[in-house]
């Protein structure tokens, strides 16, 4: 059992936060202006990519970076970042990136938003993943994609914990985060670290 990714949508159904863990099929970075700033560095529009220079992996060298797992093994890489990898690391440890028609992140967020908008479901399951939805009274929507075997109640409990813990502490009570601005996401270092800690402490994380 594992978890793949986490999205937070505000009441306008705009993606304001994104975090991923064991994802093998990565989204392409969002196109320019399609995603608010401060959602997630890993999937934001990258200026260097447009200029044709590959994005160095060192951009994501922070411990909170989702491109590199805590064990130091590359779990997934962007197509742009693929050839910056030293050839020796492409051995048995690193999983090959899944080829195929990966969606750009902004498209992916829009599709997720279509599904959860005005809907009252708590989870759905497909053959390879399960989506859990937790909606706060202020209409923030927390969306967790996990392995299909994760039980709905425990995942929703984790989302609720995330709302009452990191979200309230580092977003709602943080004067530097503009809530409901439609101009910026809610990503900040403390929130990301705290969410990361919370999710890694869940029984279904590994």
């Amino acid at each position: 059992m594992t978890i793949y990714s986490l999205y937070v949508f505000d009441r306008h159904c705009t993606c304001v936060y994104y975090h991923d863990w064991h994802r093998t099929k990565r989204p392409k970075p969002a196109v320019k202006d399609a995603l608010l700033p401060a959602v997630s560095r890993a999937v934001s529009h990258q200026v260097s990519a447009i200029e044709g220079t590959p994005t160095p992996l060192s951009t994501f060298s922070s411990p909170r970076n989702t491109l590199i797992s805590s064990s130091g093994v590359v779990v997934a890489v962007n197509e742009e970042a693929e050839y910056t990898k030293p050839p020796s690391s492409g051995g048995t440890q690193a999983q090959p990136p899944v080829q195929g028609s990966a969606l750009a992140f902004d498209e992916e967020a829009k599709l997720a938003c279509i599904i959860i908008r005005d809907e009252n479901f708590t989870s759905y399951r497909t053959s390879t993943y399960k989506m859990h939805l937790y909606e706060t009274p202020t209409l923030y929507k927390f969306v967790l994609l996990s392995d299909p075997k994760v039980e709905g109640p425990s995942a929703r409990f984790a989302l609720r914990q995330m709302y009452s813990g990191p979200f309230l502490e580092y977003v709602v009570r943080n004067p530097l985060v503009p809530m409901d601005s439609r101009e910026r996401g809610i990503d900040n270092e403390y929130f990301r670290a705290s969410v990361d800690r919370l999710m890694k402490s869940q029984a279904f994380f590994n």
């Binding site: 099929k25 997720a112 989870s123 759905y124 497909t126 390879t128 994609l145 109640p153």
Partner: protein
């Protein structure tokens, strides 16, 4: 388990069969049913695109606070069968017992859908007067579905 309703949706997203078995569903006009079926068809397609790990099927089970939908996409890709079942009351919403209950019901609903699919193959597809992708109007199909689901959905 209470079965509330059964829908059969063709590959274009049109509703070809719809029947309610228990009280408690909102009374909708046939137009509204058609719109909902089309919506489900779209949602089903989107859910397979959202997969974080490789290719995925569309949604198979959709759970809400008070009900559960089980969706079977047949091998020919032409037909979705859908059962809406009542899984648990909201009071039972926490604890281990609930987990057991749902997984039990899980197996039930899926096995049931397979039986419905058999009935569809027998009474729908083998019927020379039935046009594929068109609404199913067959008394024998109705009867068999009634026997299959009507008895189960009797409140226990």
């Amino acid at each position: 388990m209470v079965v509330f309703g059964l829908w059969v949706i063709n590959k274009a997203g049109g509703l070809v069969y719809q029947r309610n078995f228990a009280d408690g569903l909102a009374q909708l006009s046939s137009n509204e049913y058609l719109v909902l079926a089309g919506t489900l068809h779209g949602i089903h397609a989107i859910t397979s695109r959202l997969s974080p790990t490789g290719s995925s099927s569309g949604a198979q089970v959709i759970e809400a606070e008070t009900f559960k939908m089980t969706i079977l996409l047949t091998a020919t890709g032409t037909t979705y069968l859908l059962i809406v079942t009542h899984v648990y009351s909201t009071e039972q919403n926490a604890g281990t017992k609930f987990v057991l209950l749902t997984s039990l019901h899980d197996a039930n609903a899926e096995a049931l859908l397979q039986k419905v699919y058999e009935a569809y193959a027998d009474m729908g597809m083998k019927n020379p007067f039935h046009t594929p992708e068109m609404p199913i109007r067959s008394d024998r199909f109705d009867l068999r579905i009634g026997v299959l689901l009507g008895t189960i959905s009797a409140p226990t």
